[in-house]
Symmetry: C2
Subunit: 343 residues, 2 copies
Amino acid sequence: MPKKKVSIKEIASAAGVSSALVSMVLNGKAKQYGIGEEATQRVLRIAREMNYQPNIMARGLRSGKSHLVGLVVADIANPFFAKLAREIEKQASEHGYTVIYGSSDDNSRRLNSFMQTLVNQGVDGIIAIPCEDTIKIAAELQEQKFPLVLVDRDYTDMEISSVLLDNEQAGRQITDYLITAGYRHIAFVAYSGDLSHIHGRLLGYQKAMQAHGLAEKVYRFNKDESRESIRAFLSSIRSGDETVDALIFANNTLTIEGLYMIRETCLRVPEDVALFGFDGGNAFDLFTPPVSYVRQPITEMGRQAFQLLMKQLEATEPLPAEKVVLQSSFVYTASSKSRSERK
Amino acid sequence: MPKKKVSIKEIASAAGVSSALVSMVLNGKAKQYGIGEEATQRVLRIAREMNYQPNIMARGLRSGKSHLVGLVVADIANPFFAKLAREIEKQASEHGYTVIYGSSDDNSRRLNSFMQTLVNQGVDGIIAIPCEDTIKIAAELQEQKFPLVLVDRDYTDMEISSVLLDNEQAGRQITDYLITAGYRHIAFVAYSGDLSHIHGRLLGYQKAMQAHGLAEKVYRFNKDESRESIRAFLSSIRSGDETVDALIFANNTLTIEGLYMIRETCLRVPEDVALFGFDGGNAFDLFTPPVSYVRQPITEMGRQAFQLLMKQLEATEPLPAEKVVLQSSFVYTASSKSRSERK
DNA sequence: AAGATAAGCTAAATCGTTTCAGAAGGCAAT
DNA sequence: ATTGCCTTCTGAAACGATTTAGCTTATCTT
């Protein structure tokens, strides 16, 4: 359709009016500025005929707004973030915004530099999955009242709008469930590092174990060598060196790695160990037996995140930070069948 | 760091020079314009001290370039596209570009409107996964010499730069493999619709079957009701109403759906049917038995796509379209074990 | 000493849009 | 006729960066 780029000036001269008038009409401010009915119609008609498309750069320069929002996830190839991104993109487009995205790999250097890039690119606001050292740049942005929303992970000490899962509750609930199902030697497995959501899940697990007077078994593996560590760990379960009858994997990628290693070490589920993971997905469902998991309300998280951002974008004065905490649901399958049932 | 937004003018007055000079220095064109060493250093120092960040909008308005590229995939939540997006994002950032993305759901209306949005947003170029009716807008853009690269699917009649898989070869190769492994009643299963990559895979399948004088068995299911159709289809294989001893699923989402239904109908793999899918993934590996698949060189596709786009972005004159065709590799697992082996 | 050349810098235009201050014309009231 | 007041519209500035054309000096040439 767009033959050549048509500017407001060309429309103005074609319609025999000033470019100011054209701008006003095209922005729907005809009445507000008291433009005559006849001129209004003429301009609208001509603009349509010439297929006018506003120049975003010029508009942005003038207004200081770009209608772009930045999205920084840990890894777009992780289904959890992909789904989140999908929802945010949808919300954005419904509200006239476009999304610029990038993956940080939970590397704070990359995250910082990408955030900086986004700001330079002139985005109006940012939604980010923070990682351990996001604090620095987040604090800076926050201080400048730059619209910012954090998702999935929290920094309780900072007054930044966030959308979070009630991770402690989730951790507690699945641990309680496993205990009720008759398991006593429940291990909590996570990557090492200090990500708040993992911390919350761990806390829930610990409280549940303590409440029942059971010994905590927490295993944390370095991400770089997780395969080997997990394999060794599972082997020692199989050999009986470690007394563990149930495993809680603290996030989705770790669960997947765990499944690979479980298959490799020929551990039987749930006969040798029961399983609980996070986030679900095809691999969870198609594993034999299907894997129980905590389901996060991803769509809702995306919706809320964009909502919070919009509030800030539209606010004329600085807004107080707002933290939204969502509850998870649970999918109980054969991988965590109760001990009595399976005998 | 950025206390307030600093403009080139403020630097100019702080340094006691004109804003033109500052612009030249900051763009590294000091020598080119014959700026004195002393002035150059002073400006650089002050710019650093004031933490100058160029205003992209202003620069874009002047230059007509945004250093933004648009990426339209079918669905970012599909691992294939997510990985592709990841690579493109990486390439882009290495070359000073930022990516705006969106999902089309293979819906041509959405794709068209999003492409239009991208153009309006002032992206310098677009990488897109086209769907059936992308032709219209692609042709328009092409005609205007707008930088555009299509990935994964082809429209042979259009002169548009593309990165493609040799789908016919892939289809042929896995069919040949299954035939050699002793299967004779090989079914090709795909969604209905006319997507070129599926067509290529089908063609390869057909040629292989013909070459061996075997009867083709092509099944195409409507995406909306695929679960039910596949279930019915698999049931009739199980009951013996359909004589099929091997299944080729034409893409990844369909393969996954197939796996769910295979489990549901309790078909044994490969005793009842052998399996071959596309793209791989955790679910493929963790299924029992692991599923054989065609592995696409996703990283390479992303790299090449960005490369082709860059060429167009940097070219001063219109470039001839270029089509890159990549070869796939294969992962042979228990799901397609040869008949003799498994007896 | 006059003109040429070069080095180092600046004024101003430009990109397309928005918006403010106010102009022009018509009309009514004084 | 003057003033005031609408209604409808326009000129011009502003946003920030880039670039062209050209202005000063100083130096060199003859």
